[in-house]
């Protein structure tokens, strides 16, 4: 790691950020972790990561909201999104599309569309045939899909990590104190702006459009939704498709941010985004976004102030604590409201 070197606590990946800081600390005098600058840097890194988790978490929460089941293959959908983005970048490089904004746009669209297709197929194959079957069947089928997709990508792409050369280098130096530079990389700006825009647009869809109303109606009473003329099957399909498209954006961002991916990244990211959805209140859309940001912040701050080795433990401890003490999550509704 640390191939982008220099710059001390520059942007980098959040994990890399933390790791590099420790190195800096061991090489030079210890970075004073009580510094406001240090805090600021972690905040930027945490928000970036949190936005990515939030995008994935939306997929979990929407699917749960509408069919009452956790889509255990969603992490794999995100992983596939990352691979499609990587491949698209490489192909664009080969055919000589080098103007970065254009390349980004093309990759974004391609990743969203193709990954959405995977989401659509997933619902068709793993969920629809089991509608009305015991929940356990659908759960097993989803886990099966998850294993299948992992192996499929491993076979097709190999098990080794795939690197991608930095596409968007550089950034702003916000302030410098005693050689510690608070950096906001251009990529972080793009990630934060894009995730915010997607979340805002998406909230608008859910709250204001007939598609969103149809989704909420299905989530609240599927049978009644069909009785007022909503095509329930299509609405569920659309939910999977939208969730997958958002996960694809997350996958693309991660590919850019870390510069490496492998077939296994869906597992951890999936569980963390799921944790985010549970923390925010599963089924709640603002909850998923809030939970994502919180998990991102917790993970980054934990790595920065405690030990990076335990950052995943931190995230999962949150999951356990929430499940014990506040199973409805921060913004979730209590289950008693079943009218």
């Amino acid at each position: 790691m640390g191939w982008r070197g220099g710059g001390g606590a520059c942007g980098g990946g959040p994990a890399g950020g933390g790791m590099r800081l420790r190195r800096v600390g061991s090489r030079n005098k210890r970075v004073d972790q009580r510094n406001l600058e240090y805090f600021l840097q972690q905040l930027i890194n945490g928000l970036t990561l949190g936005g990515i988790y939030g995008l994935i978490a939306i997929g979990y929460t929407m699917v749960y909201g509408i069919i009452g089941m956790i889509n255990f293959a969603h992490g794999e959908i995100y992983m596939i999104g990352a691979f499609i983005a990587l491949i698209a970048f490489l192909v664009l490089g080969l055919v000589g599309v080098t103007w970065v904004p254009l390349a980004l746009l093309i990759v974004l669209v391609v990743a969203m569309v193709l990954t959405a297709f995977y989401g659509w197929v997933l619902e068709r194959v793993a969920y629809r045939p089991l509608r009305g079957a015991p929940r356990l069947s659908a759960l097993i089928s989803a886990i099966g899909m998850s294993i299948f997709l992992q192996n499929y990508v491993q076979l097709a792409q190999g098990a080794r990590v795939k690197p991608l050369a930095p596409v968007i280098p550089g950034g702003f130096s916000l302030l410098e104190v005693d050689g510690f530079i608070v950096q906001l990389s251009y990529l972080q700006v793009i990630i934060i702006v894009l995730t915010t825009a997607l979340m805002a647009g998406f909230s608008l869809i859910i709250n204001r459009t007939s598609l969103g109303r149809a989704q909420r109606a299905c989530a609240q009473d599927m049978k009644m939704a069909s009785l007022i003329g909503i095509d329930v099957d299509r609405t569920i399909s659309t939910t999977f498709v939208i969730g997958a498209a958002l996960a694809a954006v997350a996958g693309m961002m991660v590919t850019l941010y870390y510069g490496v991916i492998d077939f296994y990244i869906g597992f951890l990211a999936g569980i963390k985004a799921f944790t985010a959805a549970v923390l925010g209140g599963i089924g709640s859309l603002p909850g998923a976004m809030l939970g994502g940001v919180l998990i991102g912040l917790i993970e980054v701050f934990w790595s920065a102030y405690f030990t990076i080795e335990y950052k995943d433990v931190a995230a999962f401890s949150i999951l356990v604590l929430v499940l014990i003490f506040r199973p409805t999550g921060l913004l979730g509704r209590p289950e008693v409201e079943k009218v």
């Binding site: 007939s210 109303r213 149809a214 909420r216 109606a217 609240q220 009473d221 049978k223 009644m224 939704a225 069909s226 009785l227 007022i228 003329g229 909503i230 095509d231 329930v232 099957d233 509704r333 409201e337 079943k338 009218v339």
Partner: protein
């Protein structure tokens, strides 16, 4: 002219046969009621008309088209609306949103007029239009369920026990409104009731369902006068 024809319909829940060959017809402009005891299969028949679950055997014809095996949302889009058992208001949507949901299959240019119409029938809904559906009283929810059904501009309105659990005053008002909907708007109504007295007084014709089979049919007043019916469905008040 026959709007709805149910011919030899059998419906199963797994192995349980809830409808065992039901035949009935509803003509345009009529109010027809179906009465029967708990578990007779009344709600099942209304749901089967909407394809949830679809009939295993037999045929359901709406406006001359066989709709037996069509998906629910297509059946509904043809002009059938249901105010179902238990009302099934969307609890986390406002009254207004519930009414908007009712208009899913209706052309949008009529929305404002239709909303006015429903608010005229049920002024309380206008007062409560920003309130969440789940927090309405039982009677208000019933009005909302009927209003939501009307928002789709149905030609056939299926009502499942609209009087259930309501105070006598409210029951009277609901039945009054059903008559208005039928007279003023020309909507054909198929009404399922346990409150046989009110239902038979209101309806032009009635059917009696026992154990998944139609056992009797006739004019509303005739059924009301029938000794057997009085004994089975009316004794003990109304």
């Amino acid at each position: 002219m026959t709007v709805l024809a149910v011919r030899g319909v059998h419906t199963f829940y797994g192995n349980i046969e809830a409808l065992k060959g039901v035949d009935l017809e509803v003509a345009a402009g009529e109010i027809v009621t179906l009465i029967g005891a708990n578990g007779a299969g009344k709600s099942t028949l209304l749901m089967t008309i909407c394809g949830q679950p679809a009939a295993t055997r037999g045929q359901i014809v709406f406006d001359g088209d066989d709709i037996t095996r069509q998906p629910t949302h297509e059946i509904v889009a043809r002009g059938i609306a249901q105010s179902p058992e238990g009302r099934r208001i969307f609890p986390r949507m406002s009254v207004l949103e519930n009414l908007m949901m009712g208009a899913t299959t209706a052309p949008s240019q009529h929305f404002a007029d239709d909303l006015d119409r429903v608010f005229t029938l049920f002024p309380i809904l206008k007062e409560r239009r920003q309130q969440r559906g789940g927090t309405l009283s039982g009677g208000e929810q019933q009005m909302l369920a009927i209003g939501r059904a009307l928002m789709s501009r149905p030609r056939l309105l299926l009502l499942d026990e609209p009087s259930l659990g309501l105070a006598p005053m409210v029951v009277k008002q609901i039945f009054q409104t059903i008559r208005e909907i039928n007279r003023m708007e020309g909507v054909t109504i198929f009404l399922v009731e346990q409150n046989a007295y009110h239902a038979l007084r209101l309806a032009h014709r009635g059917y009696v369902l026992v154990n998944g089979r139609v056992t009797m049919t006739g004019g509303g007043r005739d059924l009301l006068a029938n000794a057997e019916i009085r004994a089975a469905y009316l004794e003990g008040g109304h």
